[in-house]
Amino acid sequence: MSISESDVLNIAHLARLEIETTDIPKYAQDLSSILELVEQMQTQNTDQIVPMAHPLNATQRLREDNVTEPNQRDLAMAIAPAAEAGLYLVPKVIEEQDA
């Protein structure tokens, strides 16, 4: 499986990662060789095998419907990059401006 430079850009966009232009060829090469390694899975026959998402056959535990978390806004806001009036501030989504 070979990953092209435009593949790198598409994946990086999906993952919201800015990649320096000069680094793209190296990422393309690295991802290609990683996927080549991963391709070796295909030699393993997995017909009729049920996928396994978790190592143990445990099932989900449930918690009682109780409010246990008090207001922690001040703690949370203290570590926020930008906050005002109890709100997190983020840059505008430009795509919505002219909609």
């Binding site: 998402a53 099932t59 109780n66 806004r73 709100l87 501030l89 989504v93 919505e96």
Partner: protein
Amino acid sequence: MEWEVVIGLEVHAQLATQSKIFSGAATAYGAEPNTQACMIDLGLPGVLPVLNKDVVRMATKFGLSVGAKVSQRSVFARKNYFYPDLPKGYQISQYELPIVEGGQLEIQLDENTSKVIGITRAHLEEDAGKSLHEDFHGMTGIDLNRAGTPLLEIVSEPDMRSAKEAVAYLKALHSLVRYLGICDGNMQEGSFRCDANVSIRPKGQKEFGTRTETKNVNSFRFVERAINYEVDRQIDLLESGGKVMQETRLYDANKNQTRTMRSKEEANDYRYFPDPDLLPLEISSEYIEEVRKELPELPHEKRQRFQQQYALNAYDASVLVSSLDMADYFEAVVNTVGSGNKAAKLVANWVMGDLSAALNKDLLDISESPVKASQLAGLIKRIVDNTISGKIAKIIFETLWQEGGDTDSIIEKQGLKQITDTGAIEKIIDEVIASNPQQLEQYRSGKDKLFGFFVGQTMQATKGKANPQQVNELLKKKLDG
């Protein structure tokens, strides 16, 4: 060309829990921004979700109430995308194995027509937060109080063929979740939200047309308008040689139109996969049976009971049970008045007639009615015991609505008590006849229609208080005398 409309609805019902689906933060509406967003809701590093017991119970209740299969094994998956109201960069939802599969809901379209709408699935998921687009130095404010609020997404089959059917389905579903006590149904607060999938096809064609998904239709009226707008738009498009694009559209209630939502991404690739922080949810058949026993009387069961117990016809019963509040209101009035069948029919007429009309006019829910069940019962009691006429009752109802109080004191204060004394009525009739000799002559010479004139005059003279039945009888006697 004749077009057929195909509609499927996706409803997000906010489950009425105290705490969030995966955290112990409160879910109360209207709190100060971010005061109900705990570390888990905020997606801080290392924190982990633990599933709320009650959401499982509520989803199970729903599944049983629509005759669906409640899956004994369901799986939570992550839906990955970036958006500021989605703190973890993924929404925990159910994808391949939802908790509820299949099911159906019967809707009443008019007095004689009902229809069964299929329910494809219902799954549990967490809600996102809110973006506030007021200007904060050119930035957007994010309130994550709603993030992690439990939702049951109920997906219907594309079984509806008109906006009217869609509204009927939505109302039936709304009523059901309220009956089950799993959702407060408050559409203004967003507790019950609807997305509509709409497509059209030439009548007779089997394949579906390309559908659009209209989001943000958050009242019954808007659903109808948005769908009708969308249907007209699609017909115009196809009839002018255009094509319907598969897209997500937003309903703008102010302009009454739908418009393309700028797609969040060229093509959404949500990269669903099982959430490794949560294990498969397993439900035993004993648990399901236990929940089944907890089910309240469901709308269709209540309708049957109303028909039997109160001798109501199918339509009246279905209207009354369409909302739990209305059904409860009706029963409260009937029980206070006394349970004669005649009284029940009278109560039904009042609840569905004058009361509903007044509520609609003032855009109120029956739970907010200024005339409480006990007040309406007091009024109807006086109709039943002939203290007042139906006409006076309407006047008193108006007073109850505007000013409050109780029927008996209004009757007392305004002297509205019905005149049932034969002698008194006869006296008034005599006066009416005496002062209208011309009409009397015409009547006696065969102009029967003038009987109404005399009734009117008599009622007017008694300010509507005379018992109409008695007036009729006595007048007949005197005029024909």
